[in-house]
Amino acid sequence: MIEAVANAFGHILTLKVLLMILAGLFGGLISGALPGLTATMAVALLVPFTFSMDPTEGLIVLGAIYMACIYGGAFSAILVNTPGTPSSIGTTFDGYPMAKKGEGEKAILVATFASVYGGIVGVIFLLFLSPPLANVALRFGPPEYFWMAVFGVTIISSLASKNVLKGFLGGAIGLLISTVGIAPIGGDVRFTAGYPPLQGGIELIVALIGFFCIPEVLTMVTERQKTFHIAETEHRKGLLLKTFVDVMRRQGNLLRSSIIGTVVGILPGAGGSVANLVAYNEAIRVSKTPEKFGTGEVDGIIATESSNNAVVGGGIIPLVTLGIPGAPPDAILYGVLLIHGLRPGPELFSMHSEIIFTFIMSLFVATILMLPVGVISGRLLHKTVVRIPIRFLAPVIFFLTIIGSYAIRNNITDVYIMLTLGVIGYALKRLEFHPGPITLGLILGPIGEMGFVQALLMGQMLPNKWMIFFNRPLSWVLIILSLFSLFWPLFIKKIAKGWKIKEM
């Protein structure tokens, strides 16, 4: 093992490879920061460029892009309240309020440190614990995916602590929107009103851009200020060090969120979008000051950004051990491996161990390099965005939303959908319906529905098909987690009230 690692580093620490990693990091950062360009797309776009390289180098570049892309999503989440990738949805909850308070730079630094930490944890799990973890992933069948979706929905009760009803309504609306298109089982065409382009359903990114970004831009327009954000934070020297210390103090959060990210990443079909919200939920749960979340709490950003970067390492675990992609960008890496004749699976470790070790080590190096790259670009970006007058910023953001929603599926319908959802989102925002639960419903809908209907079909082999949901131990773990997650916040509130009365 030591020899392999040393060999791998030998390959990586050359000028050529380091430059390639840096190029990949920059590219990934930019595509992550642009809402509409997802990690999956960025990786897919650059695959042809890798054809002329040897497989190891190609994988290294793609890995760097992937890692940086997930991190880059935090930039737009913090600066303009739009998750650059679905993995950064939770970062908007606390990142954006921090930016509005004039702490945007601090938020970006927190996101950077957390992302690097999470990325490293994910890679460490990948390196040392791949085989046993991968087998756990296989135990997740349709019933478990259904209960996982239910668990995801119960998170809403923590996210929407102010008005739980509105939160769940938002979630339900998201769930309903997710059913537009072709039914996962049976292939029925649903809710398309006879308009063929809707057969593809509502794409998540399009909805994200619509629900998060458009309301913000429209608010910018109504407030008619000259510039955006309270730019008058003098650049404090030593912010870097101070923030670093502050973040590192919170080891519990960092470690827990990273593990959550790794585990969720291992499950095929669930990726950063689910991980960051689950980690956020857990951070609220254990926090001594849960009411601070959503107003600009550092722990919030730490939870979301470390978990989503841990997903990178986690998702690669089933890819290299079982040949099953753990997260969507891994499907592309899978394709790349196949095209180069490298079959994922145990063969990869035995016959091509050099390539795999080099790849994994390169992820390590890329993540560490992300730190200086992120800090520098982040600060630069923050300084620039904060200075641009709104009369330019707002239209340009509209411009980016159009490009972003078009680029997903090359479909002009998506751009119209984005605008429509944006207007609806703005109206809902005025009514104090937070976009978070809605997007949660949108993400979990397909997972939940597919799991539900598939499980029912599985149940055909049992005397009572509904028993399929209750006769597996792993399902029960998730059921208990869901009940806990649903009632804990309400329980805590009651206890807090109880204490107050006692004290009086």
């Binding site: 776009l45 009803l165 509105k166 769940f168 309504l169 339900a172 609306i173 769930l175 309903l176 059913t179 039914a183 089982i185 049976g186 292939g187 029925d188 649903r190 809710f191 009103a193 831009v217 429209l218 608010t219 327009v221 109504t222 407030e223 008619r224 200020q225 000259k226 709104i390 009369r391 330019f392 707002a394 239209p395 340009v396 509209f398 411009f399 159009i402 490009i403 078009y406 680029a407 090359n410 002009i412 751009v415 119209y416 605008l419 207007v423 703005y426 109206a427 809902l428 005025r430 009514l431 104090e432 319906f433 939940g448 529905e449 539900f452 209907v453 029912l456 079909l457």
Partner: protein, 146 residues
Amino acid sequence: MQGDRAAAIVFILVSVVFWTQTSGLQYNGAIFPRAIIIFIILLSVGLFVQKTVGKGEEQKTFLPPNLGYVLFSIVIVALWIYCLDILGFIVSSILFLSILTVVIDVKKTSPLGIIQVVAIHAALVGAFWVTFHLFLLVPLPEGYLI
């Protein structure tokens, strides 16, 4: 109060519309949406009741200040998307970016200012086009003009 209760009613109506659309579907395709619809209707009723019976909290007004600017922006962007197919990506973007910038400005823009605005946006759109369309070969909307 009003806004929330109106919203609840809207949700119920929309749900009913969706329900009617589920009539032609097979069991497997209909079961999930129907469950969700029932969920929405229950929650909406709950919301309505909560806001009717509950204490009188502060309610943000639904209509924003400067409503005109908001509506204008929405209409302009919709028009912009429509023109992408006709005038093409570059022309429509430069045109509508400039219109938005000039209108949103807090102070009035002079004619020279307008030219500056158009030039800046032309440069921006051009840079985007070169990077994304030519270099990375990302598909961008195409129209009859460019």
